[in-house]
Every structure is written in structure tokens, then in C-alpha cells.
Symmetry: C2
Subunit: 541 residues, 2 copies
């Protein structure tokens, strides 16, 4: 569950935020915010020998706290109740146990991982008003990651856990020049192969800039040497001819290359017209999503499904976790926290601890009775979430066999927004196609409002505008609309974390929504480190 | 074994061609040439009912011939001797057997695959004047593909065989924004992370073009609507601010991101200076190599090593192959061909066949006695080859653990040219690093002239300018310099195939060098189809 194309995503978030929270300004704040940035600079403050015997001041908190920052055994004799066994909650338990804290994780469902899930044949998807059975064939390559589905190469804490826990990784293909770009209002609604869009856009940009340079229009900015150098660079950048014209490029492929079987290798396609390449916000903006810092290659995925991570984390903390334990109250008590929860039989329990780390999504948390400050309650109540959803189908790999598409993403202006081709099992007969991934705004809400069968119908219908094979070949559709998933009620947080980065008495907050990397597992991990850091600071004070 | 960055590669090829063959003009010819393009258009010429009983004219040959074009059983009773069990020769045997031809493959070495090889611990690399033992640990992820190492997603015939033969494929990471760009003469010789180079180049190009547009310098080319649209597109393309300035971008990453452990996520690096980004032919040209049609994502590799393909092809034709059979003469005889060869004991044999398909590299073929026409002999004698070579090391995966580099390629102006990070076994402790891949010109020849130990020394030394870990961590170096590999004597052909696309009597020529895709396995396959097509045309005439 990730934010593609930062700029468009930002716009869509603003829509959501504006609607739900009444203000877009918070996002500007967030862009400048780093978790822990408000704390003091790095350094040591251990008392010098012979200093007076007074408690030393708390050491300055390191920016971007992380394991290794905290003293051994700092948590011995202290108890923590962690609410939610998602990636944030399990990270908190894993790391705090190492520091000596006694941790209890309360998890509402029967399994850890939170939104990190993988759906396989035989699995059930339960939403608030529906239930679906996944009927994919039993096969290690036939799975669907409805939540997070890719890992940035620089999400180094998550990758570190994968290394530590022996989770095999493989490439996630985010950029595929054989994938399609489909705008209902450009090119007569005909999908365009990505290689042509990218190539001809670069060619035109390079041609126009070269022309301006050659007309001396940029002499204020460019010295004669610069001009000569940039012309050479533009020639390569856009594949211009020796006169700096762009008349098409072999990079755009050969005629008929959208389908296998073309006999025209070595020929060139006619370039797409600049007017169409720039005349539509879709083509203006959907080309560049893999330039975003989180979306750049290399992207990774666990071999066999994203929940390999959930299972590995869970192996570390299952003994500390109470499953099917639904929190009903979060109370402040003297020097601690009381959590009231009920078990699967409806029996109600109180659990007291020195600290609480609450990773419950704000969408769910706002309905739980609590003693939070007015400011914390307000932040929880108004926290906006992406309404993302996905649908997946099992199908013959027509995209590989008929179109040479191996992994990657096609884009469309339709509600389905994206089609993802599987990045595993290349060359096998069947694969799982993600037939829609709408990550916010109206499309996500409408998707959630549809019944599972309506989602299938609309996704097959829309997908057919990109691939003629759709109606005959895709089947066994199964969808997840995060706003309707119990104990999640949203895909990921998009509001400014604000006050929720600060504890309320002994209650700390964590979760992907409280990080610089909202919607990413790495964000969940960083948020856990931030909460741990706050608690440790108190225990060494 | 592939041509990166078409433009630079072209220059390097021109150097080679100019040196060896005396003319660069042939390359211009080649660019416009398609194998079989000179033949007639598609269509059927089967005689109408009641037509006079005369032999029908040969049917027009299809452009880009391929399996399915040829009539069943056309080869029954005909014999073919195929010289060389590389990808071209084995493809010819596989397909001609299906048509009823009796095929005999003569292979000089003890194994099929030709330059498609994978080196693992315990393997020996023999060159004309040296022998090396590979000492990698025995492990399925520790291997080295010294020849072809990646497959374009549109190399559909090769991919079709992989599907047919059950060869598992995974992604080859060609583009990694965490990899390095190192020019000895730019940025004080400090390697730059690719994400910054790409981001800041795009930012500057977009900024300059936006400025020219806003100054009305391109009003001849752009209508008012175009101007408004291209400005919106440029803002996204280069991540410009609202005033169309470029002051850096989060796409360039955060400070210290070259190494793991930075605490500055959320901050921005200062953009690189345009003058440095364009002031060096290296930065002008090495940014864009993954835009080339053969280099665009998705790229693929067989799981476990490229020789999975050799083994699978070989399983189809081993029974038809005489190994360790070294050809000494290729003679024309009445209605056929005589090939003289010697076996491992030095015994000499004549093998007569109706046809010969000769896939022996021109570098080797020119020393074999033959009856070729003067034109064919001249083409064989002057055919230029890339002098590519590679070296590989086993090492701790410091690139992953210390730098978040997962697969992909770093570039340098030094002779080693490229460093390839392994695309398999992510997260494991050790990996095989390709420490040099020079694909032509002086660097390749000098590499070939060095002893294996000298190659190790120079590659470790040069690699150390990109990665400080090199001297302490990389080891077990093993190299292949294709100009010195017996029965290959070169990496891939770079001359115009010219007359060698036409048979000489009953002798047909094939091999990657005789294709539009020189240096690629798909080219070898296409060349085999071309040769088969020529033979079939005669047999149905």
C-alpha cells in the first residue's frame, strides 16, 4: 500500500484531507517535518567523573532514533502494553523486549501483520458488510498482496529485518516500458505503450530545449561551453539527430510491438504528437511516477508474498501476543495505563502497564473510549485516511504471452487507476493480475461502496479498455477495500501527525500514519522507533 | 553480452570497425537493414484450382521468418550439418528437426551453449594462454555469467523457448537509482549516486525549457495551449517549483543516502551543478542507457544462471551433436557440403550433407580451410568483433548492507567501465559482483592482454574508486576475455552482416553477428531462423 507519483498522490491526498480535515496546510507542514527533528542534536551527556550526585539530565534524543541508540536493560522491570500486532506494534515489541521491557501485545484479529497480508486460494476476505472466498489455484506463485506490495531499496530497517529473519527477496518491477498508458480522452482512447510515451516526451523536450539553446534564447543562463555541452547531452537524452531534430527513435520500439509476433523489428514507429503527450493531465503526470524517491528502482518484494514479513515478525512476538483481544477502553492510571479489552468469549479484562504504545489506526481508535487529552482526541478524530482498494484476478498470463509484459504497472484514467502484472513466476501459465489499485479520493470510496461482484464487473469492464483478453480470460476476482476492513477502516493515514507524535501521559502513539513514510511499512517501523525512543528517554531520565 | 547505451556503443563499435574493417559506413547500412527485408512481401502464392501443372514459383519469403512459417515435413530425407552448438546452432537443429531434416551438430568443445556460459565454484576458465579455477563457494546464488547475462522483455523467441522448456526467469535490474556514476574528471573524482544525477539533469532540462517557453522563445513551435500544457508537464518532469524553478527535489534523496544509516530522511540534498552534469561526455551519455530499446525494463535472467538456457537447448539436441569435434575444412561438393573435422583423438572424418549452417564466429572461421566465394571469404576475414571481457568476485554484499544497492549497474570512466551487483540472492551474506565489463575498444583489448592476476589487480584498484570496501572485501576474482577464449576469439560481431546473410551455394551462415541484434541471444535465434528459411525456400521450390 504505497503512494505512487508523489505529485498526483499529493493532490489526491489534499482532496481527502481537505474534505475530511478541513485544511490542506497541514500537508505543507508535514513535508518539512522529520520525526524527532524537534529534539536536540546528537551527542553524549554522561556526567564527568567527580560531578555532583544529582540525576543527570536526560541525554539529548537522537534524530531518527533506531535500535542501537538505547542502553541495554533500560526496560528491566517495566511493562508495556502494545495495541495492535501490525508492523509498528510488532516492531515495538521486538525491540523493547531486547531492552528488557515486558511487553504484551493486544491484537484484535487472530493473526499478526495488520495491513500486511497476502491472500491465497482458500483464504477469506471479510469486510464490514461482505465476505469473499479466494478461489485461486493452490500454487506458490498465485497470491495477492492487498496491502503493502513493494519495498523501496532504501527502506533499510525493513530490509534489515528481512535479512535478519532470512526473508528471501526478489525484484518488484515498478517501471516497465512495455506496460500501457491509457487515457480515455487522449489518442482516441487507445492505450499507448509506455516506451513510446516516455521516448517521444523526452525527444520533444530535448528538441525544444536544443532549439531554444541554438536560438540563443538561454544565453543568460548558459555560457558558450555550457551550450555546446548541453546540446551534446540533449542529443543523447532525447535521441536527437545531428541537426538536433527529433524524428522518432528506435527507443520507441518497432511497429506492432504492443503485441508479440510483429515482423517489423528494425523499423521505427512514427512518433506520437507532442500535443497529445502534453494535452492531458494524465500524460503530463503519470509518466514520471518511478522518479519519486520511494518509487525509484530497485524496488523489492518478499518471495512468496508480503506476509512472509508478517510471519517472521510474528515468530518473534507471538508468545507475547493476545489474539482476538478487542480493546474497548484506554485509561490513564497513576504512573501508567489501563487497557480494557475483551477476549473471543466476550470476557472483559483490565491490563495495567507502565506504558502503552497504541498503533490502532486513527479510524478505529476514534471509537474506543479513552482518557486522551482534548488535543489528542481531536487529532485522532480528524485524521484522514486514504480510501485505497485493490482487486486481483487469476488469469492466463496473456500479458506475457501476447504482449511481452513482464511485471510492472499500466495506468489508466479510469477508476481502476492501475493494473499490476505479477513480478514472480514469469513464464508460467497462470498469474495473479491486480486489476485495480485506486489509492484515494472518489475512486477508492466508490470501490468500497460496491459489492464484491460489482467491483469485479467494473474492473473487468475497465480493464478491457486496456487489454482485449480481459473479458474472456480474467476470473476469480477478489477485492479488498480498506475502508471496510474491520480493525483497519482505511488504507493509510494522510494527515499531519502533529500532536500524535507526542505522548499523552504514558500513552505513546505509533503506526505508519505517524511517520514521514505514511503508507509504507518502513514508516510503521520508524514510528515504533520514535515511540520507543520517547519511553526510553523517560526511563533513563 | 550486450550493447549498453546504443550511442556510446555505436561510437566504440565504429572505432573497432574503423580499425579492423576500414569503414564505418557499413554501420549506417546496417541500421536500415532487416534480416530478410530484401525478400518479397507476405502472402500466399498457392496455385489456384485448375492451374497448369508447372512447378509453382517459390512462395514469397516472409519477412522476419520464424517457426510456423514452414511447411511440415519439408525436410524429410534432407541432411544438414550445423557447425557450432551455440544458441544459433542449437536453435537451427531444434527447429529443423521438427521439419523433418536430419541434423548433425559439430561442436568443438565438450559442451553446448557457446558464449552462453555460467561459471561456478570448481569450474575452469581456459583462455589461449591461461587457465583459471573458479573458487567461489558452492552455492546456487554464487555464479557468474561471463557472456550474455540479461534478456530483453521483447526478445520473444528466446523467452518463448524459456517458457516451452520450463526455464524459470527473474528480473535483471538494469536501472538502479542507488548505483553510482563515477567520472575521474568530474565532481573531483567523487562517485555520484545515480538518483542525484538523473534527478538534477531532469530538473535542469525542465527548468531551462520552461524558461525558454515563458520567454516566448518557442512561440513558433508552441501554441498558447501547448505552452500551458508543456509547462505543467515540465513541472512534473523535473519536479519544478510553482515558479518553474528547480531548486532540488526529494527525488534526489536525502543527505548521506549513499550509505546506510543516514539520519536525515526528509531533508534534501543540494542539487548538483548543471555545469558538472553536462561538462563531461560520461555524464552526457551514461545516464540514458536504459532508454535503449534492448535495455529498457523489464530485463530478465534465468534463475540460477544463464546456462540454464544452454542446458535446456542442449537437452533437445545432444543426441544429434558430436562434441569435441573440431572443423578443419568446409567444402562444396555436388549438391551439398562436405565438412572435415577431427575428434578428440585426432581422428579425421568427412561429413557430407545437403546443407551446412555455419555458426562458427567469423574470428574463428577465417582460419578454417573452405571453398567460400571470394566475397564470403572477404566478409569473414574482415568481420570486426567486440573485445568485451568481464571479471567477477565473491564478496560480502557490502553494496546491499552498506549502501542499499540491490542489483543494477554502476558506471565509471575507468577501464572497468561497469560494476554489476547481483540480481539474485538479495539479503544473503555473500554475492558475486561483476567487477568489470568493458565491451569494446582499447579497454577490452588491454584487459585481454593482461594476465588473470593483472586483471584482478587493476579491477580491484579501479573498483576501489567507487567503493572503499573493495580492497578488504572482494576476492576470488575470475575473468573471461572473449578475444582469448578458444573457438570464440571475440565477444560479438559488430560489422555489417552483408553478403553473409546470403548463402554460398549450400552453405548458410548464422550466429548473433548476422542479425539485427548483434551480441544478443535473440539475434542468434533470429539468424538461425533466417538460415532455415533460406533452406526451406529451396526445398519447397
Amino acid at each position: 500500500m504505497t503512494t505512487d507519483n508523489k505529485s498526483i498522490a499529493r493532490r489526491e491526498f489534499l482532496t481527502v484531507v481537505g474534505k475530511v480535515a478541513g485544511s490542506a496546510a497541514m500537508l505543507r507542514t508535514m513535508a518539512a517535518m522529520g520525526i524527532g527533528l524537534s529534539a536536540a542534536a546528537c551527542g553524549s551527556s554522561s556526567a564527568a567523573p567527580g560531578a555532583p550526585v544529582v540525576p543527570p539530565p536526560p541525554p539529548p534524543r537522537l534524530q531518527s532514533p533506531r535500535p542501537g541508540d538505547w542502553p541495554a536493560n533500560v526496560g528491566v522491570g517495566k511493562t508495556v502494553v502494545i495495541l495492535g500486532a501490525g508492523i509498528a506494534g510488532m516492531t515495538a515489541a521486538i525491540e523493547m523486549k531486547k531492552l528488557g521491557y515486558t511487553c504484551t501485545v493486544l491484537e484484535a484479529t487472530s493473526v499478526g501483520g495488520g495491513r500486511n497480508r497476502t491472500i491465497r486460494g482458500g483464504d477469506t476476505v471479510s469486510e464490514t458488510d461482505s465476505s469473499q472466498l479466494c478461489t485461486f489455484d493452490a500454487d506458490p506463485d498465485l497470491y495477492f498482496n492487498p496491502g503493502p506490495a513493494r519495498i523501496s531499496h532504501h527502506h533499510e530497517f525493513l530490509l534489515g529485518y528481512c535479512r535478519q529473519f532470512g526473508i528471501a527477496l526478489e525484484t518488484f518491477v515498478n517501471e516497465n516500458h512495455a506496460a500501457l498508458m491509457h487515457s480515455a480522452t487522449s489518442f482516441g482512447g487507445q492505450p499507448q505503450i509506455r516506451r513510446r510515451v516516455l521516448t517521444d516526451t523526452r525527444g520533444n523536450i530535448a528538441r525544444l530545449l536544443a532549439k531554444a539553446v541554438n536560438q540563443n534564447a538561454l544565453d543568460q543562463d548558459l555560457s558558450p561551453t555550457d551550450k555546446s555541452n548541453i546540446l551534446a547531452a540533449l542529443q543523447e537524452f532525447g535521441d536527437l539527430d545531428s541537426a538536433f531534430n527529433y524524428t522518432g527513435s528506435e527507443r520507441g520500439g518497432f511497429p506492432g510491438q504492443e503485441d508479440t509476433g510483429s515482423r517489423q523489428r528494425g523499423e521505427r514507429v512514427t512518433p506520437l504528437q507532442l500535443q497529445q503527450l502534453i494535452g492531458d493531465i494524465f500524460f503530463q503526470q503519470r509518466q514520471d511516477f518511478t522518479q519519486g524517491l520511494e518509487q525509484q528502482p530497485t524496488m523489492l518484494q518478499p518471495v512468496g508474498g508480503m506476509d512472509r514479513i508478517s510471519r517472521a515478525f510474528e515468530a518473534q512476538v507471538a508468545a507475547d501476543t493476545l489474539y482476538e483481544s478487542v480493546v474497548s477502553e484506554i485509561r490513564k492510571i497513576a504512573n501508567g495505563v489501563r487497557v480494557v479489552y475483551s477476549d473471543r468469549f466476550g470476557s472483559v479484562f483490565n491490563l495495567d502497564a507502565d506504558y502503552c504504545i497504541c498503533t490502532i489506526p486513527a479510524t478505529v481508535l476514534r471509537s474506543i473510549a479513552n482518557d486522551f487529552s482534548a488535543a489528542h482526541q481531536s487529532a485522532v478524530s480528524s485524521f484522514a485516511y486514504s480510501s485505497a482498494g485493490k482487486i486481483a484476478f487469476q488469469s492466463r498470463r496473456f500479458w506475457e504471452q501476447n504482449h511481452n509484459i513482464y511485471g510492472g504497472i499500466s495506468w489508466t484514467t479510469q477508476d481502476i487507476t492501475q493494473i499490476w502484472y505479477p513480478n514472480n513466476g514469469f513464464g508460467r501459465n497462470d498469474g495473479v493480475l491486480v486489476g485495480a489499485y485506486m489509492f484515494g479520493g472518489n475512486a477508492g470510496n466508490q470501490f468500497a461502496a460496491q459489492s464484491p461482484q460489482q467491483r469485479i464487473n467494473s474492473s473487468v469492464n475497465q480493464g478491457g479498455n486496456l487489454h482485449a483478453e480481459y473479458s474472456a480470460e480474467v476470473g476469480r476476482g477478489i477485492s479488498v477495500a480498506w475502508p471496510k476492513v474491520p480493525f483497519q477502516l482505511g488504507a493509510w493515514g494522510v494527515s499531519d501527525p502533529g500532536i500524535l507524535l507526542s505522548p499523552d501521559a504514558n500513552i505513546y502513539f505509533a503506526g505508519e500514519h505517524l511517520s514521514l513514510l505514511q503508507g509504507w511499512q518502513e514508516g510503521a517501523i520508524l514510528s515504533a522507533y520514535h515511540a520507543i525512543d520517547g519511553i526510553v528517554a523517560r526511563d533513563i531520565a
